[in-house]
Symmetry: C2
Subunit: 394 residues, 2 copies
Amino acid sequence: MPAAQLPFSSSEYDRRLKKVRSAMAAADIDVLFVEDPSNMAWLTGYDGWSFYVHQGVLVFHDEDPIWWGRSQDANGAVRTCWMADDRVARYPDHYVQSVHCHPMETLAALVRDRGYGDKRLGLELENYYFSAKAYLVLQSELPDADLVDATALVNWQRAVKSDEEIVFMRRAARISERIVDGILERIEPGMKKNNMVAQIHADAVRGMDDDWGDYPAIVPLLPSGSDAAAPHLTWDGRTFETGTATFFEIAGCYRRYHAPFCRTVFLGTPPQFMKDAEAALVEGLNAGLDAARPGNTASDIARALGAPLARAGIDRAARAGYPIGLSYPPDWGERTISIRVEDDTVLEPGMTFHFMPGLWMNDWGLEITESILIKPEGPAECLCNRPRELFVKD
Amino acid sequence: MPAAQLPFSSSEYDRRLKKVRSAMAAADIDVLFVEDPSNMAWLTGYDGWSFYVHQGVLVFHDEDPIWWGRSQDANGAVRTCWMADDRVARYPDHYVQSVHCHPMETLAALVRDRGYGDKRLGLELENYYFSAKAYLVLQSELPDADLVDATALVNWQRAVKSDEEIVFMRRAARISERIVDGILERIEPGMKKNNMVAQIHADAVRGMDDDWGDYPAIVPLLPSGSDAAAPHLTWDGRTFETGTATFFEIAGCYRRYHAPFCRTVFLGTPPQFMKDAEAALVEGLNAGLDAARPGNTASDIARALGAPLARAGIDRAARAGYPIGLSYPPDWGERTISIRVEDDTVLEPGMTFHFMPGLWMNDWGLEITESILIKPEGPAECLCNRPRELFVKD
């Protein structure tokens, strides 16, 4: 089956595999099992909404990866992975969500059959979808193997984006701009939130010209007024009202690559405290963008952001961003670096972040954010190009 | 903070808590930790897209549950849970996705503080979001506790729906019908798939009249032609073509309750093999619906379905359905019963399933499915009301 729709060049996949193998060698890992769907896709091209059952990719030092998963999803694997069809391994359907047997029994058999039953097997212990039970079954089925924590081993290799990836993220950013433009154009008092979401979804998926939109890893978030204190409430059928702010947390997505972008819209005349907060936040964003350059650290961005906020009496006490790129639900972050004072990771050109200093106070909220690219020199580039301000619509 | 938007009556939440406590008692569990967002919402009302960080609900025998999660999400918990505000516990933001510390350290402290450090703690070991690492941290932090596998303990209590829940599922079914009607009305050769998805999303979220649509736990799936062999491929920017079948796997969702509903559309004149498959599948569906009655088992449905398929030479080798109701991504199933010959669970009135005998063959696919309700007597009721057939559009 030809993998007709591979999003990237074969040299790009080669590059990724080499990076991961180097990291495996550094951690003395003989074979790596990757269950994170983002890591699976980044390494092999695999793309499908099948991560609700156990599946993964085995990465070896000296042979091509093996995709392993549910029998019916093997058809998707041969259609989307770059490896040959005989690198697709499937387990029978009666293992799915069974109380009698567990899919990891078949993975363990595969590992043993390949001669790795007494070797060092890397596992993503802190990851969505790789359950505690999966770990316990592997432990029991591979008593002679050394199970090593390889959490985020692949994620870290994804931090610096290739030129091919940056192209995708720029396409995602065009979609993000389209979504935000549509919000600003359509919002008005009395409009129901779910009807706004209908438009946001439609803009996101239509995409821009031939760049069709993929599903973002998080649904649109758009709480208003005092509910905007809660960053992760989803929509309902209530209406937008004059005299309230609503933040819109959205992302365009192009072939699983995201450019998250948040703006807040106030209907009517914003109160002074919100204008003050906006001024401090924008000053902090600009200072953070200026600090977001190679050689500086993630914590430098956080500190630059924090100073004007502190002067305005705003204590966020939350991280201010995370790396972005290829993602699947439930998160569009890469779960490695965090933009916060505790994180001294040194910034490198090609890193991409959602610089996300949302203000979630006791009874109001304000989000103005940027997806950024660390440049070889100078301040970070914002992938989206829209005014960095509280939008006001009378 | 008043929980103004609670979807269910307080007696309904009481009923649920009592059922879970009985199941805990039967398993000799002193305190239960629930990380599954569907179980969290079913027990407490909690609703938010925050399941990408560790969070959960502690269920006790003799005091109200405690919601536990990230600091910034506590604002969402006090807004959506029925418990008093002092039943919301939060951990500081620097625990999020950190390599230095783990949120489960704070959960363990909470368990110890409440006097359960040496008791039997139930955990959902096979569940999305409760990671292997989470388990290992709890094990290390609670050396005197007895960690018990309570996988699906709550899920099983959800199997029989209350009248209040059935009302929600009927609303979801109206949305499902609207989506399928929209597909059939709009599909034509040359239409791009992503543009169709834009309409599907919009119909799903607009909902029906005042019943606003929530986000389904799975995105729309609509592979065509030979790609329909792969059940979980998502869309792209290619067009629908004359002479091919496309299946549409969708669900309307009302306040997190789902009514999945799949239909296949053939553009042009379907080949005889597909009409034969349709006939066998519809015969199997009708036989399965007739077998889906109290006292029979899940396997009875599977066998009734399987006979006409076998006569037509079709070997599915996959389960034919699963319970449905309240769900969050990545799955709208409840992960308890499976409609397959290995599952002898006895059917009870009020159980709801997605009767889902998708045909995913080597180079084609066909989906005709029903969301069903087990009635006190007689065959199952289909929640959606649309012709049970392969739709053909010339």
